[in-house]
Each structure stands twice: as structure tokens, then as C-alpha cells.
């Protein structure tokens, strides 16, 4: 039902649109406002880096963009659908079908093979066993891990683990990949590999990437940067010119 309405709105406006979004935690005198009313537009196929110091509201913004959280006020439209009006389970379905996540700490299931980790979102989608295995294998191959299917996270390097996580995020062919400091736990060589991978997916597949990072070098891979400070967006500028490709 929701999938239909999303498919129908294929060409209506931007992929992601935040309007005057605020997010408050707590109540009364203990109330904290993490987002002071922000506007964000992200078009299909964009590559956005989100930067800003700790507590600036960028994580809160990411949680809302990733449909893990809802705005206190304002409006979030994902492909034209108002996410604020969706239930917890409807947001879960939205994540399942259209969003992929990559985290700083990899967040793979322990003692679970790379293939089974990548299969996980497909299991929740109800994909049949054969197709599941095939697509998971393809996703692992796409991140350069063909032949590592049976290895568990403990048997993989940090860079490899993050690539398994990326494979898990893209195996469902999502519209958007949300990456929360994807290179935060990696050395610079490993970080460049991960960023190259994201760039390839962005360019070749038209995958929209929204990435939080502290590192200007990593942010340079993005087409534009959104900078947060004290719950506001400080500047929003295109970085096409600086892009090192």
C-alpha cells in the first residue's frame, strides 16, 4: 500500500525534503532542542556529507532522515510521503524497502557469516532462499569480497567488515544509503577504499548517499556539504569544484 503510493510519486519533487523540522527532547525546564527548525532538500542521486561538531544536531537530523526518529514539528517528506504521519511499523517497512544503513561500528551480527549478514534484510523482505543467496553473493562481489562469504566478522579486517556492512545496505537496492561516520574506525588507506566504493555506487547506480563525517578529506568525496551548528544548518554549499575524483 505504502510501496504503491511511493512508486506513484516517482517524479514528484525531491527524494528527501525537510521543512522547518524541529526535534525536542524531554519536557518542561529539562527540554532540550536538538534541531531548531531546518530545511533540507536532497535530490535523487545526490552525494551529501553532513558535518558539524558533537551536539550540533547532525545525528538527530540523520535519525530523522533515516526514519528512525520523527520530527517534533515541521514536515519530512520522503518521495512526497509524510514520514511524520507513519507508525513505527510503517517506518520499519519504509526502511526495509527504500533505505540502507552503514554505521561507524560496522554493526554486523557476530558469529554470523558475511553471506548471512548480507542476507538479513532480504530475509525480512521475504525473499526466497535461492534468490537471497544469489543477491547476497552479488552484493559481496560488488564490494570486492567475492570468496569471503563464509567468514565471520571476527575473521575479517575492519575495512572488510565495513564492506560487508555496505553490501548489506545495498543488497536491497535502496534509494538512499545513510552512512554514519563510515570511516571513523578505519585508517586512511581503508577509508579511501570505502569512500571509493560509495562513490562508485553513487555514480554507477545512482544511489543517493547521505554521510555524516568529521573528516574534511572524506567530506571532499561528496558533491555538497551540509554543516550543522547548534541545531541550525550553518551553510549549505555545493562542493562540486573541490571534489577530488
Amino acid at each position: 500500500m505504502m510501496a504503491d503510493s511511493l512508486a506513484a510519486s516517482e517524479n514528484s519533487g525531491p527524494l528527501i525534503e525537510l521543512k522547518a523540522v524541529t526535534r525536542r527532547y524531554g519536557s518542561g525546564t529539562a527540554e532540550v532542542t536538538a534541531l531548531q527548525g531546518i530545511d533540507v532538500r536532497i535530490e535523487q542521486g545526490d552525494f551529501v556529507a553532513v558535518m558539524g561538531p558533537s551536539g550540533s544536531g547532525k545525528s538527530t537530523c540523520m535519525n530523522i532522515l533515516g526514519c528512525l526518529d520523527t520530527p517534533s514539528s515541521g514536515r519530512y517528506r520522503f518521495k512526497g510521503v509524510d514520514v511524520g504521519g507513519l507508525s513505527r511499523d510503517q517506518r520499519a517497512l519504509l526502511r526495509r524497502h527504500y533505505l540502507g544503513f552503514v554505521f561507524q561500528g560496522f554493526n554486523l551480527l557476530n558469529r554470523t557469516s558475511a553471506l548471512e549478514n548480507v542476507e538479513l534484510p532480504l530475509i525480512y523482505r521475504g525473499t526466497g532462499a535461492r534468490e537471497r543467496r544469489q543477491r547476497a553473493g552479488q552484493a559481496l562481489a560488488a564490494v570486492g569480497l567475492a570468496g569471503w562469504e563464509t567468514h565471520t566478522p571476527a575473521e575479517l579486517s575492519g575495512g572488510q567488515q565495513q564492506r560487508v556492512a555496505i553490501a548489506r545496505a545495498i543488497v536491497t537496492d535502496p534509494f538512499v544509503l545513510f552512512a554514519d561516520e563510515p570511516t571513523g574506525n578505519l585508517d586512511s588507506a581503508r577509508s579511501r577504499e570505502i569512500m571509493d566504493l560509495l562513490t562508485v555506487f553513487n555514480k554507477d547506480r545512482g544511489l543517493t548517499v547521505v554521510m555524516v563525517t568529521h573528516d574534511p578529506v572524506m567530506a571532499a568525496y561528496a558533491r555538497r556539504v551540509i554543516r550543522f551548528r547548534d541545531g541550525y544548518i550553518e551553510n549549505e554549499g555545493g562542493r562540486e569544484a573541490d571534489h577530488v575524483s
Partner: protein
């Protein structure tokens, strides 16, 4: 969706063999205990019933005096039976396999220097039939011996062992108090009775021999009757009561001055006791099954906390609340069912061993196996629900941040 959730739950169980086996330990022990208690208990009940029926199936005993369970008083005053009473029962009541008038007493048996205190039973050949005795060797009494009260006897297996060991006792003369008696038959052993006494420790003599030569009277102390298969013991009992009331001239409004006791009553009393014990032991074991269930809940709760991050990942990539709930619930149910199956196998093995050690028959009660399996599955549902709900309601953002 259900199938996927089962798949996920099974993968989680397989991944954590150690935690899973610790979780089900309580259930395993509980189920095994219930099955062992009930199976061994059933075996003991059956054993008691078997032993009593070896005394004689469909057996009715008639004693002068009022029931030992009723208020006493007239017992000593009640007159003994006579042979004619037994003959009248045999003649006038249909559906009887045999009627044996009995006059018994305890006495010393002597052979050479051996001396043995035993029970002397004076009766007819009907006694063998009524009490399910078979001859191992020799012959029953003949009519002449019965009529004349000859000094012949048939001995039980205990006396044979005491006096003769491996020798052939037939034709040998032993002394029973003041009479010398020739052995004409030996009985096959029956072993201990359900009451714990040695059934084989007795000597059978013709009724007249005991009456005339030992007791010095013509009394019959009791009458043993066996009812034909397929004939109601209740009806035979009622017929005998009516006949004896008439013969003994008991008035309309008077109590019987004799009582008729059938084996069914005794079987019920004794098996009732062992059954009660079985129930009690089973109940104690069921409590341990419940404790096992609490153990499951405990470990599932710990495991939800321990797996908070995993739950966060699942929620983030699109697991719905009820899928996470089902995953944990199915994990609990699969674990407890698995525990139930292991417990059943263990219980069957333990009760087979227990039945062997206690020398009671091994009777597998399918009902209790099914019940304890269903109960363990139920324990999984009940005690798995709370932890599963806790997992399903986690906030994915918080859960992903959990260290």
C-alpha cells in the same frame, strides 16, 4: 513472514549453542523428572495390582463376624460357618468357578531335626482353583482322602525349600503338630504378595483332616469363592449375602453377622495409595518444570540486554515490532520444545533404569509424555513473552548506541 522469523530464530539458537543448552537445562530436568516419577509410579501401581490378582482373580472371601472396617462387637459372638454353608453356596448360586471352605491355623512343621513355623490350611481341591495355585509335582487330593480326612498334604514352595532343598519331597512323611502327614503334591511358587507376606509358606490338607485331627471341631473359618470370568462380582456378592442371611436367619433390620469381601476392593485400596503417591511425586516434579520455565525467562531477559545491539540492527534494517517479538518468542518456544524432547528421552531412559532397579514393570504412559511436551512448549510461550516484548519495544536509536 512467519517462516522468515522461524529461520532467524533457528539461526540465533544454532549460533549460541552454549547459551541455548544452559537455557533448556531446567526444562530438560523438569520434564525428565515428571516422566520418571509418573512412569515408575505407574509401574508400582501395576505391580501391586498384578500381585493381588495373583492371589486369585475374581476372588470373594467370606468371613463370619462383621466387617473389620465396621464397628466391632459381634465378631466373637458370630457363629462359624459349616461345610453345609459352602455346599449351599456352590449349589444355589450360579456363575461361580469354585467354592472352597477353609479352616486354617498356624502350626509347627517338623521333619527330622528341622522345625518350621507355617500356616496349615484345611480345604478341598477347589482351593487350588480359587486361589490360582498350580501343582509343580504330585497330585491333588482324591475323594477318599477328602471324605476320610486322611493324613496327606500338599506343601508350598517355602516348606519344600526349608525341608528338602534339591530332594524330591513326594511320599515323604512330615509332622504337623500331633499328626504325621504324607506329602502327595508340591505347589509352584508365587512369591511375595502385595501385602509383603510369603504366599508360598503354607501346607494344604483336606478340610476334614484339620477339623477332626487338629482343631477338634467341624467349623469352617472362612469360605473362598471365585467367580467365573464375565460374571459380575457384585452380583455374586449380593447373591451370597442374601443366601447367607437366610441360612443364618439374620432378621430384616439386623446387620449381617458375616462379611463378604471381594478382591476388587483391596486392589482399589492399594492401587489408590500408590496412585496418590505417583500424583504427589509428579506434582513435585511439575514444580521443577515451572522453575525451569523461570530459568528460561531469566536467561532470555539477560540475552535481550546482551543482544540489544543486534536488536537495534534488526530494527534499523526494517524488522517490524512483531517480527522481533516473534523471533524471541519462537526462540523461547523452540528451545523449550527442544528441552522437552531431550527431557522426554532422558525421562524414558531414567524410568526404564528406575523400573529395572525397583523391579517394577516398565509401562510407558503416552499421555504424560504428550502432556509434559505441551507443558514445556507452553512454558516457552509464557516465559518467553515478557523478554520478547521487551526486545520488540526497544528504540532502534538507543539500541544501536548500546555498548
Amino acid at each position: 513472514m512467519f517462516l522468515e522469523t522461524i529461520l532467524i530464530a533457528l539461526r540465533e539458537i544454532r549460533r549460541n549453542v552454549m547459551r541455548s543448552s544452559l537455557t533448556i537445562l531446567g526444562i530438560v530436568i523438569g520434564v525428565a523428572a515428571v516422566i520418571t516419577m509418573v512412569t515408575v509410579g505407574d509401574g508400582a501401581t501395576r505391580q501391586v495390582a498384578n500381585e493381588i490378582s495373583s492371589l486369585g482373580s475374581n476372588l470373594i472371601d467370606i468371613y463370619p463376624g462383621q466387617s473389620f472396617r465396621g464397628p466391632g462387637g459381634t465378631r466373637s459372638a458370630a457363629s462359624k460357618f459349616k461345610i453345609a454353608d459352602a455346599e449351599a453356596i456352590e449349589r444355589e448360586i450360579s456363575g461361580l468357578a469354585g467354592v472352597a471352605p477353609v479352616n486354617g491355623r498356624s502350626a509347627q512343621a517338623i521333619r527330622g531335626n528341622d522345625n518350621w513355623s507355617t500356616l496349615i490350611t484345611g480345604s478341598t481341591n477347589a482351593y487350588l482353583k480359587v486361589r490360582n495355585w498350580t501343582l509343580a509335582d504330585g497330585r491333588p487330593f482324591n475323594d477318599d482322602e477328602l471324605r476320610a480326612g486322611s493324613a496327606v498334604c500338599i506343601i508350598g514352595d517355602t516348606l519344600r525349600k526349608q525341608f528338602f532343598g534339591g530332594q524330591d519331597p513326594l511320599g515323604t512323611v512330615i509332622r504337623l503338630e500331633k499328626i504325621s502327614c504324607r506329602i502327595i503334591g508340591v505347589l509352584k511358587p508365587k512369591g511375595q504378595s502385595g501385602f509383603g507376606s510369603d504366599q508360598d509358606d503354607f501346607v494344604l490338607l483336606p478340610l476334614r483332616t484339620v477339623q477332626r485331627r487338629l482343631a477338634g471341631n467341624t467349623d469352617v473359618n472362612s469360605i473362598s469363592v471365585s467367580v467365573l470370568d464375565g460374571v459380575s462380582t457384585e452380583k455374586a456378592k449380593a447373591d451370597i449375602e442374601r443366601l447367607l442371611r437366610q441360612r443364618r436367619q439374620v432378621g430384616e433390620d439386623e446387620e449381617d453377622d458375616f462379611h463378604v469381601r471381594d478382591m476388587q476392593e483391596i486392589v482399589q485400596t492399594l492401587t489408590g495409595t500408590t496412585r496418590l503417591l505417583t500424583t504427589l511425586l509428579g506434582a513435585v516434579a511439575a514444580v521443577s518444570l515451572l522453575v525451569g520455565g523461570i530459568g528460561i525467562m531469566n536467561i532470555m531477559l539477560v540475552s535481550v540486554t546482551e543482544r540489544t545491539r543486534e536488536i537495534g540492527i534488526r530494527l534499523a534494517i526494517g524488522a517490524m515490532e512483531k517480527q522481533v517479538l516473534m523471533q524471541f518468542l519462537i526462540e523461547a518456544v523452540v528451545l523449550s520444545c527442544f528441552g522437552g524432547i531431550i527431557g522426554i528421552l532422558l525421562g524414558i531412559a531414567a524410568s526404564a533404569a528406575g523400573a529395572g532397579a525397583l523391579k517394577v514393570p516398565f509401562i510407558l504412559n503416552v499421555g504424560i509424555i504428550v502432556v509434559s511436551f505441551l507443558f514445556s512448549a507452553g512454558v516457552g510461550v509464557v516465559f518467553g513473552y515478557f523478554p520478547a516484548r521487551k526486545a520488540a519495544l526497544l528504540d532502534p536509536i538507543e539500541a544501536l548506541r548500546h555498548e
